[in-house]
Symmetry: C2
Subunit: 140 residues, 2 copies
């Protein structure tokens, strides 16, 4: 299966990004790098994509495990190398699950399945960066 | 330097994504996977980010080389593995530069600098996928 994406130059460092699903997003650099911060930095989108990828896995698995999730966030923090090409060398993923009687074992298993089996984005970025994770369960 | 991103569950498979720059984007899966296509697939954002990353490099370099660019697009196509975790195994990047008297050598050099030196996203995804590229120059 193929996935397509495209960015079209607008002006300065601003681009409109689109992909196969038909949605659009604006990308821009900071003023420091000649842009106007009218949109996401490209490297931010890698982390948003990775967060979304594992988040969709985990929420699906928690529902299959009949967990009563009322709120769910995935926070990702990437540390970049000092030298070009300035990849992320370390990425930490924090899962925050809110709900009633959420089972820590279910959360751990869901995260493990995403990390080890399902999440395509983590599998790719994990070839270049060291990925670590943690989770927190909060009351509904 | 650290970059942060976060996705917050809205409902079904829909998440709102944000990052350090303060922008937001909606992520969702297809109906086939329990979503409503209200936003990008997470794996699309990796390709949009990669396209934007190399596009910003190339447009910056072409301007430094005083090329009169009037239009510019970067199209990316990723082929996914059949088996989980379904990474991109092959990514092709096509650069389309429009303008007056655009020098093919300048375009080639700009692409090479992005691929080999500057583009953080290509450097990361290139650890997992085979990346190829091509370019086309069109009249203004």
């Amino acid at each position: 299966m193929a996935v397509e994406a495209k960015v079209t130059w607008q002006e300065g460092m601003r681009f409109e990004g689109t992909a196969s699903s038909g949605h659009t997003v604006i990308l821009d650099s900071s003023a420091e790098h000649g842009g106007q911060n009218a949109g996401f930095r490209p490297m931010e989108l890698l982390l948003v994509g990775m967060a979304g990828c594992t988040a969709m896995d985990v929420i699906s698995i928690l529902r299959k495990k009949r967990q009563k999730v009322t709120g769910f966030e995935v926070r990702v923090r990437g540390e970049r190398a000092e030298e070009h090409p300035r990849i992320y060398t370390d990425i930490h993923v924090e899962y925050v699950v809110r709900g009633e009687d959420i089972s820590p074992a279910a959360v751990e298993r869901a995260i493990q399945l995403s990390e080890e089996k399902y999440c395509s984005a983590s599998a790719m970025l994990g070839k270049a960066a060291r990925i670590t994770s943690s989770y927190r369960i909060e009351p509904a």
